[in-house]
Structure formats: C-alpha cells, structure tokens
Symmetry: C2
Subunit: 340 residues, 2 copies
Amino acid sequence: MDDLVNALLNGSRRAVARLLTWVSDESPQASPILTALFPHTGKAWVIGITGAPGTGKSSLVNCLAKAYRAQNLLVGIIAVDPTSPFTGGAILGDRIRMRDLSGDSGVFIRSMATRGSLGGLARTTRDAIRVLDAAGFDIILVETVGAGQSEVDIVRTAHTTLVIEAPGLGDEVQAIKAGILEIADVLVVNKADRPGAHKTVSALRMMLDIGHPASRTQMTAHHGQLLEVKTPETPHSDEPIWIPPVLETIATDEKGVAELVSAIQKHREFIQSQGLSAPLERQRIEIELHERLREALIQQLLESTSPEYVMDVINQVQNRQLDPQSAVTKILANHKQMVS
Amino acid sequence: MDDLVNALLNGSRRAVARLLTWVSDESPQASPILTALFPHTGKAWVIGITGAPGTGKSSLVNCLAKAYRAQNLLVGIIAVDPTSPFTGGAILGDRIRMRDLSGDSGVFIRSMATRGSLGGLARTTRDAIRVLDAAGFDIILVETVGAGQSEVDIVRTAHTTLVIEAPGLGDEVQAIKAGILEIADVLVVNKADRPGAHKTVSALRMMLDIGHPASRTQMTAHHGQLLEVKTPETPHSDEPIWIPPVLETIATDEKGVAELVSAIQKHREFIQSQGLSAPLERQRIEIELHERLREALIQQLLESTSPEYVMDVINQVQNRQLDPQSAVTKILANHKQMVS
C-alpha cells in the first residue's frame, strides 16, 4: 500500500490508473489509500464543465486541456457520465477524447459512470479528483452531461463552474438556461459561428441581469445542510461580487479558448483575493460529509433489519394497509430496537 | 381535514390544487391527508415521459392528454422540473401547456420543482401522483427534462416509460441514447419530418437489438436495494419479453399519436397479462421506502448532533487532519452515543 501511495505522490501514471479504477469500482482497497493521500490534496484547481447535450462540451474540454498544457500545467480530465444508471458503464469512452491528447503524459483522462446508487457518483467523482490532485495534476477538468442533479454535483465539487450553451437548441433549452445559469461562474456560448449565437449571448446576459446570481458564496450557502445554514448572508453593498462573464467560443476551430482560460483565471483570482477559498471549501466539505453520512446511515439500517421484516412491511404497503410514510416510521422503530 | 379528503375523493379540482401545493411545498399538513388517501390509490396508469431537451416532450404530452381525453379518461399532468435546484421554482410554467388544454376540467396540470434536497423531488412526485390517483384521474403523465437522475426517478415511479428522441441533435445525444434506451418501454422519435428521422429510428432499433433491454422486470430488479435483490431472474426462454417499439411522431401536427397511445396500451396489457403488475409494484414500493428511509435517517442524525460538533469535525477536515471517510465514522459514533 505504501508503495502505491508513494508512486502516486510521485505522479506515476500506473498508480493513478490503478487507484482511479478502484475508486470508480468503489473497491474497499481504495479507502486506506485515500486516507493516506488526503493530507496531500487541496492544491489543484477544479473546473466543472456542464451544459445540455449537443453544446460541444467535450471539444471545449479538449481545447482547455491543450491550453493548460501549453502553460506547462498537468491536466486531469474526469468525464462523468450519469446517463447509464443501469449498466454502470461510461458511454462516452476515453477513446473519443484521446485523439487530440494522446501521447501527452501531462494529461490524464478517465471516464466515470454511476453504479446506480444515489450519491455514489458524487462520492466517486470527489475521490477521483483527490487522486489526481495528490498525484500533482494542477488543473482538473470535470465534465458532465446533464440537466439535473449532475450539475448540482459539479457545483458542489468544482472551484469554477462553466456552463456551456449553444445557439439554436430550441425553446426548451432556453428555459433550462434559467436553471443552470445560477450555477455558472463562467458562461460559454460554444458553436458561436452558428446562426443565432449573438442572440443567445444577449439572452444570457439579460437573464444574468434579471437573475443576479452574484457570487458563489451566496449560492453555495443554500446547501449548508449539516449546519443548517439557511439564510445566506447578503453581501455588503460595497463588497465586490462576481458577475459571470458570457463568452463565445468555436471549440472545433479553437477560437475563444484563450479568453475562456483568462476568464477562469480571473474567477480564481476573485475567489482568492476576496478570501472566499476557505469558506467555499468549508461548504464543499460540509456537503460531502452530509452525502457520505446519508450513505452510511442507510447501510447501518440495512445491516440491522432482516429482509423478512422489510418484506412484511412491503406487503402491508402493497395491500394498502400501511402508507409509505407510516411504513418508514415502523422500520425506523424496529431499527432503533435492533441496535439498542 | 376529513372535508378535504372527501372533496378530493369526489374529484374536487380545488381540493386537488390545494393538496398538490402542500405536497410540492413539502408542508406537514399534507402528511395525514396522504395517509388517509393512500387506500384509495393504485388505480391510475402512470406514464413517464423523458428525453433530452429539444425533443418536443411537452408537445407530445399535450397530444397524449388530448388523445386520452377523447377516450373520456381523466388526465393528470405532472411536469417535473429538476433544472433549478437553487431557486426551487418550476421553470416551464403551467401556462405554456395550458393553451391547448385550458378550459377542459378533465385535465389537471401541475409543474413541480425540487426544493434542492436529494430525493425530495422523487418523493413529492410520488405523492403528487397519489393525489391525482385518489382524485380519480385515470391517466397520469409525468414529464421530466433530463439526462440523468431524473430519468431514473421516472422509471421508479411510472408504469410505462416513454423515451423521446429527435433527429439531428448531434453525436452526443446519440451517445446518451444508449443510456436512456435501457429505461424505455416505448421509444418515440418525435419531429419525424426532420431530416435524418429514419436514420435515427434505424439506429435506435439497432441499439435495441444490441442492448436487449428486455422486460422491465429485469431492469427494475437491479434497484431492489432494501431486499438486496442483486441478480435479476433470467426469464425462461419461452417467457415472452417486452421489446420496446420505436415509433415516429410529429407532435406539432398530432401525427403518430394514435399509434403511440396504442403502443402504451399494449405495454399495459403486457404487464397485466404476464402477471407483472404486482411484482413491479413491489419493487416501486421497495425503492420508495429506501429513499424515504434515507431522508428520515439523516434527519434523525441532524437532530442528535450539535452544530458545534459538526463544525469542529469540518475544521479538522479542512486542516487535513481528518479525511472525509474518517470524519463520517466519527460523526456516526457520536450520533450513536447521543441516541443511546
């Protein structure tokens, strides 16, 4: 184990690959190693990239990776794929992305998929980020396809969140924007050579004006669940707030990428200069502990409750003798009796 | 309370509206009423409709509602909107849909959004379905936008799941199909007058041949978490399996809707004739209890653990003195001590 930890801390690609596989398989072998690596984490900047399907996220991720490589930074890419909860296999294979970046030992790419358990994807993504972080990757790009929970998971993990849009994806996509706008630190209209790009940019800027997503501190504060932070502090009027810029890119032609890298850098400097790094990290930790506790608690219950007991309760619900909420109360009472 | 229950069982729209608001607000007032209504549920057929943004799901839902209304069935529509976890507001308002269906008292439409809590959306959606079911709605259409957890939630709730596709949404959407194919009972290629529709249909049929999603029994069995049903039974070779049909529709012209209604009816008859209704319902109950237990357990923990204690643990994690998994073990040990 010590060998693997040392190899990983020295940036061994083989060690990274092996440990990422353990993490993604949720193998118990990963656990002591993650504990050993933890003190060596916290150096990487994590960039979340999300947006609706068809916006060209993967191309943009490739462009960003190349740009950071040109700055001589080590780049880790985690492609999170929440779309196949049943097979548990990553659909967008590593191979598609490898074309441009293959042969560069300064880039490490891994696709990850959920194993179907709620919260499992968020946990394995966080652990994968830590593995790359401890191995010395400076920039970690976490990409997800989605229009729901997956974005939230990214916000909860990333230091800078990019929301990618594309022109002309229809009204429904426009509507979705209102939702994902709120999680964006930087908005990108990709495929900016398509008709309607400028209209999309204006629409986004308008929505930003209406929505005032303001700083990330405010937003993430909503999620302070363990400490029940319910009302985020209103920033003082003289306190600078981060207004997400709206950028245009054409990833296939590598246009606008330098501006995007610069916007990400500005966001990073904003977080750091405003003293927001520590409070934002606290919130991320709080959210992670909350999610892990949920998982652990249900495991404990499953271990203390016999399948026969559960089956009997399910029968009563199916026969409409017991409603689901009362069934839960019953199972919890039984659990309490079993553990005491 | 009895008055509201009776009014609802008699199909009062006002009672339905009030109770749906309570359900969607997660108001404690809803709880005893849901218990009282529960014996009166289980009659409606619940149809889940999902697919990537831009496929025209809402138009198709409107078409289906009109078709069922023509059969003199009462139709409830729940538009689940998981895209705005931060504001908690439903983005796609009821108003957009109301245009065609307004003035018809046989249709009830409600948009719902998550309040940000994991599992909250699934719970409120299930409760909303029960309210409509108890109020006598025959068909309940549950629509969601998404490419992730939200589809899974729909599968876990619906009796028949439609996955909507559209031609020409790009390669990434093609890739997603592989994931959501597995949850489809019926596949619909909407906007079938667009270029590439036949190609999309062929591609889907080919993927179905490869993937063998087979019957719903097999798939949902993966989720039997409380009883830890891990290996689904392989159906006997002489047992009929449900092969999801791939249909073409043009919702804006109401084309292909009759065929879609007929395919849904065939799926319903398949489930019923094969004796699958009861085992599938058991699985749905099991999944629901599992989700509710998770929520209840974390609530108990939050009530027993002082914010100061949590803050101290978070500090240790932030200082890299304690890794997240060890932090969880510590909080659980403290919780156990507090409740015993």
